[in-house]
């Protein structure tokens, strides 16, 4: 017995894996197909089958028959609503291969979960309902599959039993799909199979009802498609995940090889430092290796002590990666809060996390027509092309050349949520060729001359809270002390620099961004810069804070209750807003997010504007702003 088991295990150990996803529109039968595959490959245990039969009768949609969808829709909310919300992973094997399948939701609102399932898949099974043909969701999912570099697409035209197994219907859908797909990646391999997941036609056995289909079954294709196709020879790339230092005598760099092959003695370069060395050992617990290749998780040591930390990339010295901090990217937005150029996010790529600003949104891609449209923002599930600017240079490769070093996610700095996913297309400039122009006269020399430390005093608060009044008094006092100042006032700036901007959310973000950048230039010029701006949103104020060096951004919260501001109403704006003449007015149609940690908090109800200015002045003295 043991001899045969050992032989079996050897066969199993030699098997390869195919990771695929099922996608397509709602009700095209994705979950049913997976249930069928599990059932046909005898992977449903008796206790699971018993639970499934009971569930089918209770909440199923197939009458007395087994509802296979209930096998994969594992969340209570999904079973109640009869829909798939999140991706489910299932595992099965045949004699030839092991499979990991990601069953993806079809609803548009859960596209981010579909994207989760698509990432890392070798192949996509695109389900199409023979009665309904190619739908918007078919196109959206095909676009994402193509965007994510999945080259193998199996179009399963399902529910053929409901159209009398009619060949002409299949042919029309096949032609239409190929026509649409020709606008996507041109190197994709598309195979179309007519099936009925419910009845089992052309799943594992060729359908007798469709003798006109000369092709293969769905399973034939899944079992034989080439999983790790012969990509062109890659140069060695190892993103450093963790520096391994058990003691003073060992210093190794742990990571998973993202491309190419490595052997002891190979010459390498570490990026971004550019320092070179040679590979000494490839260390694993099972003994040193003579060589290691893509997907291997290894630890390498080098002949020289060079400075390498997490997020750096070790690569072949003769073919180093590009370094850059400005890139053109494709971006899929995955959050309810829209993306606006100017906001800051964390960008994680490989094992590196940096700060990132989307500087320019070039266009949005229409999923239906594949046309480009001008856009000022990206909403949930929209795809666009944008320029991004990073806080540090990173080593990257275009996504088309290397998946690991060409993909990234965007993370919200406040909630830590994953809000976007993107692909690097190309560097906007070769940062390694651009030498920063070192100016002899710099910020500290300018400010030394003025006997002050430059800073921005950012006054935020409701309209009518007293920002401009206090700013005016403060600047007067500083001027009398021979300090060099400038005040940027919300209303005044809108008359000039920002007169092209309106009051939509996108324009308000841009308004703040421009004032932030202007303040930064003024701080660089050595000035004490006073800004009086309602700036109601925390993310926007944080965006400006991040533009400045540490200690330069002084947030002053002019805290005046809404009733008091409304009573004062110096410009008559509250009256208009109440009358519905102004929409999105802060405090009435739009929220004001109170600062949680302002450097100076002015409770203006209990003090005169002079007292308020004095409180700010006291803070400036305490922080040494005035006594450089």
């Amino acid at each position: 017995m043991n001899a045969s088991i050992e032989q079996y295990l050897q066969e199993q150990a030699a098997k390869t894996t195919l990771r695929f996803l099922t996608c397509g529109s709602v009700d095209d039968g994705k979950s049913t197909l997976i249930g069928r595959l599990l059932y046909d490959s005898k992977l449903i245990f008796d206790d699971q089958l018993a639970a499934l039969e009971a569930d089918s009768k209770r909440v199923g949609t197939q009458g007395q028959d087994i509802d296979f969808a209930l096998l994969v829709d594992g969340l209570a909310a999904e079973r109640e609503q009869g829909i798939t919300i999140d991706v489910a992973y299932r595992y099965f094997a045949t004699d030839k291969r092991k499979f990991v399948v990601a069953d993806c939701p079809g609803h548009e609102q859960y596209t981010r979960n579909m994207a989760t399932g698509a990432s890392g898949a070798d192949l996509a099974v695109m389900m199409v309902d023979a009665r309904r043909g190619i739908l918007t969701q078919t196109k959206r999912h095909s676009y994402i599959v193509s965007l994510f570099g999945i080259k193998e697409v199996l179009v399963a035209v399902n529910k053929m039993d409901l159209v009398n197994y009619d060949e002409s219907i299949f042919r029309i859908i096949e032609e239409e799909y190929r026509e649409f797909a020709s606008g996507l990646a041109d190197d994709a391999n598309i195979v179309c199979v007519p099936i009925s997941a419910l009845k089992g036609d052309n799943i594992t056995e060729a359908s007798r009802a469709m003798p006109w289909h000369d092709g293969i079954t769905l399973m034939d294709h899944l079992e034989t498609v080439d999983v790790e196709p012969g990509e062109e020879i890659h140069s060695f790339r190892l993103p450093v995940q963790w520096v391994n230092r058990p003691n003073l005598d060992f210093r190794g760099f742990s990571g998973t090889i993202a491309g190419g092959v490595v052997r002891p003695g190979d010459e390498i370069m570490a990026l971004p430092s550019g320092q070179c060395s040679k590979v000494e050992r490839i260390v694993t617990m099972d003994g040193d290796l003579e060589q290691a290749t893509r997907m291997d998780a290894v630890t390498i040591t080098l002949e020289d002590e060079i400075d390498i930390s997490r997020g750096d990339v070790i690569c072949a010295a003769q073919d180093p990666l590009q370094l850059t901090d400005q890139l053109s990217v494709h971006l899929l937005w995955m959050h309810d809060d829209e993306l606006f150029p100017g906001r800051q996010y964390y960008l994680k790529s490989g094992n590196r996390t940096v700060s990132c600003v989307v500087t320019d949104l070039k266009h949005r891609v229409s999923i239906n027509s594949l046309e480009n449209h001008a856009a000022k923002k990206l909403s949930l599930n929209e795809v666009g092309v944008a320029n991004v600017s990073l806080s540090d240079k990173i080593a990257f490769e275009p996504f088309g050349d290397n998946r690991s070093l060409g993909s990234f996610i965007l993370i919200d700095k406040q909630t830590n949520g994953t809000v976007g996913v993107g692909l690097f297309d190309f560097s906007l400039r070769r940062a390694d060729n651009v030498v920063w122009q070192v100016l002899d006269v710099n910020k500290s020399r300018r400010s030394d001359l003025k006997h002050q430390k430059p800073c921005v005093i950012w006054m935020t608060g409701l309209s009518g809270s007293g920002k401009s009044t206090i700013a005016n008094i403060l600047e007067g006092q500083l001027h009398a002390m021979h300090r060099h100042t400038y005040t940027l006032d919300g209303d005044n700036v809108r008359h000039g620099l920002n007169r092209d901007l309106g009051f939509t959310e996108a324009d308000r973000v841009e308004n703040i961004r421009r004032v932030g950048e202007t303040s930064r230039l003024m701080v660089d010029a050595g000035l004490i810069t006073i800004v009086a701006f309602i700036s109601p949103f925390r993310t926007d104020r944080r965006m400006v804070r991040n533009l400045m060096d540490a200690g330069e951004f002084i947030e002053v919260f002019v805290d005046t209750p809404l009733e008091v501001c409304e009573q004062r109403d110096p410009k008559g704006l509250y009256r208009k807003a109440r009358a519905g003449e102004i929409s999105n007015f802060t405090g009435i149609g739009s929220d004001y997010e109170r600062p949680a940690h302002a450097e100076v908090h002015l409770h203006t109800e209990d003090m005169s504007p002079e007292d308020a200015a004095a409180q700010v002045m006291a803070y400036l003295e305490e922080r040494g702003i005035l006594s450089s």
Binding site: I5, L75, Y89, G230, W242, M285, N416
Partner: protein, 306 residues
């Protein structure tokens, strides 16, 4: 392993092993204070083995945590202490002392209360006490249908709750482990392994496991269709219940009063794998707590269970 120039095709287990190691290193690099849950079972044994590989020649640079319900099989506790000593790894054993003082146990309070107090609440106590911001668990997606939906990096709020309808997207291996104060991550490096993969890997790598997995003559009593091991004198015998010796083994290990044995002759790994291949029930069949209600695992997970 097939070599073809610089390209080679990775086998199924090689791909899984590399993926798990990557996940562990990523947590180590990004979390401030990670911990690995060690339940002493076969999945934990594989996870521990992978951790030894991931950080070699360093020791796994985080502590291991065993939540002891005080009702585990005696052989599990012996095996646990022996392994911790052999490998010289930091092992924290946490017991919910409040529960012990209240005399909570499966016989007196039922499986639900026992599991909630001695396991789920005990785990939350330990995570809070040591302020762990990331905890590795050995759960696999093929075990149960709500697990099949869970991310590799699974976010928990400050109350340790899982929100299955609002999970962070997870793209490729770009794991987002960022949390704020008090929030945490549950991380599942074995997400994509199946039960068969686990056994194959144990066989291939010669990983030590608790002897309870192998068939042996053991004293058991039949109750509600389950064979319960008479592991100590705390097991109250009902009317007509007579302990008898049977050749049995366990497919899964938990608290002894809640874990059913199966009659089996499989006394080595090939035997176990042979049995698995012809098995018609899933391994969680032997777990009393999963049958309480249909969506019971999802509910328990929302409340902080692993």
């Amino acid at each position: 392993m097939q070599m073809d120039g610089d390209l080679r095709t990775h086998t199924h287990l090689e791909r899984l092993e590399a993926e798990s190691i990557y996940i562990m290193r990523e947590v180590m690099a990004e979390a401030e204070n990670p911990v690995m849950l060690y339940s002493v079972g076969k999945d934990s044994s594989v996870m521990l083995h992978l951790a030894l590989k991931a950080f070699y020649p360093s020791k796994p640079p985080f502590p291991f945590l065993h939540v002891d319900t005080t009702w585990k099989f005696r052989e599990m506790i012996e095996f646990r202490d022996q392994r911790a000593e052999e490998l010289d790894i930091g092992l924290i054993v946490h017991i919910n002392e409040e529960g012990v003082q209240q005399g909570i146990g499966p016989f007196t309070h039922g499986s639900q209360v026992h599991t909630d107090v001695m396991k789920t609440r005990a785990l939350k106590q330990a995570l809070d006490k040591y302020k762990f911001d990331a905890a590795f668990g050995g759960a696999r997606r093929d075990e149960e249908k709500s697990r099949a939906k869970e991310r590799v990096f699974s976010f928990r709020n400050a109350q340790h709750r899982w929100d299955p309808k609002n999970q962070r997207p997870e793209l490729w291996d770009l794991y987002n482990g960022r949390v704020r104060n008090g929030e945490s991550m549950r991380v599942f490096p074995l997400s994509n392994w199946t039960e068969l993969d686990i056994w194959q890997y144990i066989y291939q790598e010669n990983i030590p496991i608790v002897p309870l997995y192998f068939a042996k003559m053991r004293t058991v009593v039949e109750r509600d269709g389950m064979l319960i091991l008479v592991d100590d004198d705390r097991l109250p015998l009902g009317e007509g219940e007579v302990p008898e010796k049977k050749l049995v083994r366990f497919r899964t290990l938990g608290c002894y009063p809640l874990t059913g044995a199966v009659e089996s002759r499989a006394d080595d790994l090939p035997g176990i794998i042979q049995e698995m291949l012809v098995a018609r029930t899933s391994e969680r069949e032997g777990r009393a707590i999963d049958h309480d209600e249909s969506a019971s695992m999802e509910k328990k997970k929302q409340e902080g269970y692993f």
